[in-house]
Amino acid sequence: MGYSSPDYKTFAENPFPSLGVTETMMVNFSFTYQVYSNARVGFSEWISFTSDTYEGEDFDRSIKYRAVIIETYFFPMKKLELNFTLGPMINSGSISLTTKQTVDAWDTLMDEFNNSSIEISSSDEMTTTFYGVTSSFGARFYLKPYLAIEAQIGFMENYYSKDNWSFQGKDIKGPNIDVEDLPLFTFGMVYGW
């Protein structure tokens, strides 16, 4: 789990659904591979996600913070590891809306086969990509050689612009959110070889 404090300004207002726990608590997972006696490289992702209704239609909003990380570490004592992480980030945001509507042409075709009119579901999403960097340090305690608990403190520095969204291949404006300099606290279990 990752804790941070982004300011989702636009999303905090009506008629958007309430942000809920995923505003500050994000799901985080990482994969790393040891490449040196004191270093691992890998991939890490934090996900902030909301799924609710907007104006009565199905609404999904997700912001994924993704980092390619290099993690260096040492053991000050047996079973206890101190680690330091650095990495560039390629983040993505998406907002999707699924609407139900009737289409005349479909209604006519349905009538030909003696059906009543049918609501058609239509879904599309607007997306953005923005870059950033992340850094953190923390401690990992090995309960078993393959199982550990970990806590980290760090930050994300993101370069988000509301003008860089796209929808159906067209550039559009997106929501006003503040994710520029985010403190980051991560707690988790580590399983590996």
Binding site: N38, F74, K79, F137, P145, I153
Partner: protein, 112 residues
């Protein structure tokens, strides 16, 4: 379909024809002995399935628990010895990371 069946029969025959390494005591298998000697990280990822099967069999043996404990202790010692201090470029990465986090929080807490 007939081709697939033929391939399956051939593969099955080859597998049956192989000599499997039989040890009286699964806790004395080559992989477990190596893990006891050099820690669990000495087991390669390709050897992992065999090692897990050996461990599974070993758990039923008298000295199973003792073997597990010894492997875990040896792994902890080996991890500690191999990564007791930074080597090469890793120290630079750690200093950069620690310094950037500290600077971030100093600025954050000072309100800038």
């Amino acid at each position: 379909m007939v081709k697939l069946l033929a391939i399956a029969i051939i593969c099955f025959s080859v597998l049956l024809g192989q000599d499997t390494e039989k040890t009286e005591n699964p806790c004395q298998s080559e992989l477990i002995k190596r893990a006891k000697r050099e820690g669990v990280r000495s087991i390669k990822i390709t050897e992992l399935p065999t090692y897990v099967i050996d461990l599974w069999k070993c758990r039923k043996e008298k000295e199973g628990k003792k073997t597990f404990k010894r492997i875990n202790e040896k792994t902890n010692i080996e991890d500690y010895k191999s990564s007791e201090q930074f080597t090469g470029f890793t120290a630079t990465c750690a200093y950069c990371s620690a310094a950037s986090v500290l600077i971030f929080y100093i600025f954050k807490l000072s309100g800038n």
